[in-house]
Symmetry: C2
Subunit: 234 residues, 2 copies
Amino acid sequence: MTEQTATTGAGGPTTGATARGEQTRQLILDTAMRLFRERGYARTTMRAIAQEAGVAVGNAYYYFDSKEHLIQGFYADTQHEHRAAAASVLARERDFAARLAGVLHAGVDVLTPYHSFAASFFKTAAEPTSPTSPFSSESAGPREASVALFREVLEGSTTRVDPELRPALPELLWLAYMGVVLYWVHDRSPDQVKTRQLIDNAAPLVDRLVGLSRLRVLRPVTRQVLALIRTLRH
Amino acid sequence: MTEQTATTGAGGPTTGATARGEQTRQLILDTAMRLFRERGYARTTMRAIAQEAGVAVGNAYYYFDSKEHLIQGFYADTQHEHRAAAASVLARERDFAARLAGVLHAGVDVLTPYHSFAASFFKTAAEPTSPTSPFSSESAGPREASVALFREVLEGSTTRVDPELRPALPELLWLAYMGVVLYWVHDRSPDQVKTRQLIDNAAPLVDRLVGLSRLRVLRPVTRQVLALIRTLRH
């Protein structure tokens, strides 16, 4: 939870206030995540978070309208961290499978400290109508930033893709990432090593499928898959 | 909840006792399902179920060790009903896509009266470590019976399949069915019409993929998919 846009430095009154505001926001968010881990999401109140962070309850509500907004803050911060953690593999690798595996591993790296929280929080986020679902309209900001990261995986790679598939592919890769995260949430192997194996097995498979999408015989399949996914949106 | 092996008729004392036992079991199960729908799964106790069914609490526990066993009973009964509802399409159709669509629609037909219960129960069953998860060892009986139904979909059809894929395919079809059920649980369209569209779109796609599995160029993909699924098992 450390990767933040640096707004400190110049030190004019406005900038200083922004930096202090950012510090307070971060303090509240870090405290909330700690209490969610320790006490569970459902049993942690905004009042307890404010008290534990040493800020007035009204001040906490100034930064986060509700517990759900704290989760959105968590999503936004981990998304920033994910991008930072993925930067070196994206700068280094041109091979699509290597870029995809690198970005998936970076995502799991960033989430790892939250594994016990994720297992208990899953029931809340798995409900598609919850604002804390990764698919909700409230989560659109971090979701779109995450889809953009998978667009970089594709666009910086040397792979060639069926032109009908190309525009839809970043979102499909993000969906696959959500599948990896779902698997990771329930992964009870030591250090979630099974999730790491899943990534190492899935990335070359996705790479192969993306390459095959250019075969004439498979074009209709691609079209059918894309139509099915359009059906799936509620 | 009506399709039961007929044990009535002859009327000897043992058979009569069995039939009465079956009636009591069914009464308890139907009452439980009604209370789960009305009050929610978490808030319904075995005591309340027994009271509402007009049987002694000890008698209820004689038939079902716990609420989780009631859910297993529900799974077993709906699986029986699913098989009965699928019988005519399996007897009539030889085309793989038609058989698959028919069996998936039959499954949704049987579950439809439980849609509101399913939405509230989802959080409990979605936890992979819960004995009420369709993937749990406790659910092995109904799950294997359901996989056998999808084996019939395949074996009674005229489709030809890559021999490496064939033994794994019934379970993959069952997994796809679980995907359909998951979608249906959260489907808020009128009469869950979106789920029906999903089935009608997915069955021809699966049919096409199964047919393509015999292409030489796709054999390695099949092998990779099967290896990935083995990795996925925790």
